[in-house]
Each structure stands twice: as structure tokens, then as C-alpha cells.
């Protein structure tokens, strides 16, 4: 797509969209939203970038390999926090009972494991959105090669 308006608008709003997505992810334990909603916003911003400029520019910023590695990483962070609680001597996904510092309710750094898990979910969702988009687009390209 070679549309100058789309490119300019994208360039202007992209940082705000990503910042907002990050905000929603990090405040998941304080306000409505959280890993999925915020991750979807970040993922959508990357998709917007790839659509406005082109696919190769998008994959220069975040390649398919990196996005699928991040996808695994987000899920592993979630499961890892669960197992971390087991190592601390409580049940799977234990939080306060496992002795993870909770902090003052209402502060950004509070709620112990929940915040880290939300961050993991955010990474996972954002990278999944991008990976899905790349996979569908690349599948399409492949079919054109064959024709």
C-alpha cells in the first residue's frame, strides 16, 4: 500500500497506541483490562505498521522468528511463575501464600505474581496476534508462488 495519508497517520499514532497497550498490560491488576486486552492493542499496532508500510518493513522491526520465540516466552513465563510457587513450597500458582511480596494495593508494583503473569500474558497475546497475521499473509504469498 502506497498511501501517504495512511503512512503519516500511522507514524503519528503508533507510539501512542503502543504506549496505551503497555499501560493496559501493566495496570492489569489495578483496572479493567490486562494481559489480553493490552496485548491485543500492542499486536494490533504492529499489524497496523505492517499494513501501512509493507510486510518486509514490518518483519524488519519484529521478525517471524522473534515473534514466535516471544510467544513461547510469554507462555513459559506464566507456567514458570506457577512452578516458582511450587518451589517456594505452596500449591501451583500460589501468590501471597508462597511469600511473594504483595506490596500496597493500588500501587503499580503490587499483587505479586499476578503482575508478572499479566505481563507474560501480554507478551504472549501481542506476539500471537503478530504471528497469526504473518502466518496468514505468508501462506497467501506461498500460494501466489505456486500459481
Amino acid at each position: 500500500m502506497e498511501d501517504i495519508i495512511v503512512r503519516y497517520v500511522t507514524r503519528i499514532i503508533l507510539p501512542f497506541v503502543q504506549l496505551y497497550g503497555l499501560y493496559v498490560v501493566l495496570h492489569g491488576h489495578l483496572s479493567p483490562g490486562g494481559g489480553f486486552s493490552g496485548g491485543a492493542i500492542i499486536g494490533a499496532s504492529m499489524i497496523l505498521y505492517a499494513l501501512a508500510f509493507n510486510l518486509s518493513a514490518g518483519s524488519k522491526k519484529l521478525s517471524h522468528d522473534v515473534s514466535s520465540a516471544l510467544e513461547s516466552g510469554g507462555a513459559l513465563l506464566f507456567a514458570g511463575m506457577g512452578i516458582f510457587a511450587i518451589l517456594l513450597g505452596t500449591n501451583f500458582l500460589g501468590n501471597k501464600v508462597a511469600g511473594i511480596p504483595i506490596g500496597t494495593p493500588g500501587n503499580l508494583f503490587s499483587s505479586g505474581a499476578i503482575m508478572i503473569i499479566t505481563f507474560g500474558v501480554g507478551v504472549k497475546v501481542a506476539s500471537t496476534m503478530i504471528t497469526l497475521f504473518y502466518s496468514l499473509i505468508e501462506g497467501e504469498d506461498h500460494s501466489h508462488d505456486h500459481d
Partner: protein
Amino acid sequence: MTMIDILLRLHQNSYYFFAIILFIIGFHTMLSHNNLIKKVIGMNIMDTSIFLFFVAIGYVNGGRAPILEPGVPYTAYVNPLPSALILTGIVVAVSVTAYALSLIVKLYKHYGTIDAEEIMRIRGGDIQ
């Protein structure tokens, strides 16, 4: 029971009624259309109707979001559990949709059409 009564009850439980109507629209789209993309859209409409129904049963009249804030007096709040569950449901629906669409892309590559009947016809020719 008079007509008024029935209408009154329908009004009180309108979310029930509309969720079922949406469900049937989705189900019908899914089963009766030959276009595979339309089938997937029907599937999404069906899922959405269930999500609306689930969220509606957790709603409390005049309730607000269940977030405790210092200084704000305690009021009635909306049951957060259905919303949380439905968020999971939406995630599932997204992944099923993405998967179904990628299968349609592959099907189009193999058959050159996304019409279910056409595909059946091509396959029928295959076997003989």
C-alpha cells in the same frame, strides 16, 4: 397467563430472548450457507450470542465495576466472574476463528474455491 403477562416476562428477560435469536441466526448461517467464510462468521455470531448471554446474567441493575478505590463508598457491583470467563471464551473464539480461516486459505489453495458444495463436487469426481 394473559398476553400482557407474557410480554412483561419477555421484557424482563429480554437478554434471554435476544441471545437465543442471535444464537439461531448464527447457527442457521453456519449450517445453511455454502460459503466457508460465511460459516465461520456464523460460528462467531453464535459464540457472541453466548457471550452476551453469559455477561448479561452477571449484570446487577445499577451496579458498577467491582474495583475498590480508597474514599469511594461501597455500592452494588456487577458480578465480575462471568466477564472474566467470557474474556477466556473470546480468546478461544479468536483462536478457533484464526485456525478456521487458515484452513480455508489452504482449502482455497487445493480446490480453487471456498464453496462447500463445489468442493464436495470436486472430491466426488476425485473418488471415481
